[in-house]
């Protein structure tokens, strides 16, 4: 009897939940990560009319939130402070007018030159693949990884560190995953890059290419349980698993999380807030972009080959 009551109760509950979810989906504003629906809502943006000389069709927020993720504050309401965020943004723009901080993504190959009081020439250069970007505002960080002399080395840099002299993007591309920590357990050739690599220049207007390379992991033990993280960029993960691991992976799966609207909402900055932020920094960032384009053209023009004899 108790079971029957319980069962019908659960049924009613699930039905109402389903209904509520449908309703919520209609009412709520779209979260940040949803790509396609946001494109529809672009023409209704008030920003569109205000800034007239935009070269491309889309909303700046759509481009900029991927290219400059550190301008968006941390979504945790405990740490929000509109004044501090505003001051930080101003400082970031000031720093960006001093030094060229290029657009890069996790998976791009960067060369970073810092002034280092410990080094002999007082400067130090490191080249590596960006495996992580984190932090917001002035605390934004990125991590580079390389294998030098058969020894894996990782260096963490702050993006707005005043000791950074130059950040150079040697190869602009993305990978299949958001974080590339699995390179630590992969074969070393996947994270080996030579220090005298030449920068590869993409033709203007091309979208950032996604490198579909799938790395091979070394046999276990691993640093993390890669099999539970649904990684796209690893090819041979199944070879190293036992039956037990597969079973546990099934148990640990959280397929409902992609439908968890509240979780998504807590992780992201809503579109209204974002448009305010981008409206504040758009002009300056756009100007800096234009300057960089001009400079790159000038540089290609003014460096002819010096031929002696």
């Amino acid at each position: 009897m108790a079971l029957a009551v319980r069962k019908t109760g659960a049924d009613i509950f699930s039905v109402t939940r389903w209904f509520l979810r449908r309703e919520c989906r209609l009412m709520s504003t779209l979260p940040e990560k949803a790509e396609a629906p946001e494109a529809e809502s672009v023409p209704s943006e008030p920003q569109q009319q205000r800034v007239g000389r935009r070269p491309r069709m889309s909303n700046p927020a759509v481009e900029f939130r991927h290219a400059y993720p550190e301008f968006l504050p941390d979504p945790n309401p405990k740490w929000r402070n509109s004044l501090r965020e505003k001051l930080e943004r101003a400082d970031m723009l000031k720093r960006r007018s001093q030094i060229d901080v290029p657009e890069f993504y996790v998976g791009s190959i960067l060369g970073v030159t810092i002034s280092d009081p410990h080094a002999q020439g007082k400067t130090n250069r490191f080249v590596g693949i960006c495996i992580e970007r984190k932090g917001c505002g002035l605390r934004a960080e990125f991590t580079l990884r390389n294998v030098v002399d058969h020894q894996g080395v990782e260096i963490r840099y702050e993006l707005y560190d005043p000791t950074i002299q130059k950040i150079q993007v040697l190869r602009l591309e993305k990978r299949l995953d958001e974080k590339l920590f699995y390179l630590r357990d992969a074969l070393p050739e996947y994270s080996t890059f030579s220090f005298d690599m030449d920068p590869e220049i993409l033709p203007e207007g091309t979208p950032v290419p996604i490198n579909p390379v799938q790395v091979k992991l070394k046999p276990r033990p691993w640093l993390e349980r890669w099999e539970r993280q649904e990684l796209q960029g690893v090819s041979n993960i199944e070879e190293h698993l036992k039956e037990k691991d597969r079973k546990r992976r099934e148990l640990r799966k959280t397929p409902w999380e992609e439908f968890d609207l509240m979780k998504q909402y807590r992780k992201t900055i809503p579109e209204e807030d974002q448009s305010e932020i981008w409206g504040e920094v758009y002009n300056k960032l756009h100007q800096l972009q234009m300057n960089r384009k001009k400079m790159s053209r000038k540089r290609t023009f003014t460096t002819p080959k010096t031929q002696l004899g």
Partner: protein, 150 residues
């Protein structure tokens, strides 16, 4: 009875009794290290698959950080060494390595080998200079056998 039934009906209960946070990778007592110079004893120990174990870290916390002096047990002997690269999360701009590296030295600070075959963090220059005193051991000799700095 009702509670057990509830538990059985609830498939999302997946808590476990132990914590699963990642380890700190600290260098402490009995940590295995990797010898990265070409000293005879170090090379043989690494080739045999018996890497040295820490038996003392010479600081007050007894946890080894970059540039710290350690005593290791290697092939049945006690030797001293300097930590030149750590797995642990480091400060900004300080490199983090995939293994805990050590260079063997004797009591005067003179390295036992003649070459280090992995990159060395540049911050060691400053750290080792600070630790060297006029009449004590001279640790900066280690820097001169390094091949590459990162």
């Amino acid at each position: 009875m009702f509670r057990s039934l509830l538990n059985r009906l609830n498939p999302t209960k997946l808590s476990c009794g132990f914590h699963t946070s990642t380890c700190l990778n600290e260098v402490q007592l009995l940590t295995r290290l990797r010898v990265v110079d070409n000293s005879e004893i170090g090379k043989r120990a690494m080739a045999e698959g018996k890497p040295p174990k820490v038996i003392c870290v010479y600081n007050k916390k007894r946890i080894g950080y970059i540039g710290d002096r350690v005593m290791v047990a290697i092939k049945g002997q006690k030797k001293k060494g300097i930590l030149v690269g750590l797995k642990q999360t480091q400060n900004v701009k300080v490199p983090k390595f995939d293994s805990n590296n050590i260079v063997l030295i004797d009591d005067n600070g003179t390295p036992l080998g003649t070459r280090i075959h992995v990159p060395i963090p540049t911050i060691l220059r400053t750290i080792l200079k600070e630790r060297t005193h006029a009449k004590g051991a001279d640790y900066t000799k280690l820097l001169s056998i390094a091949t590459r700095f990162v």
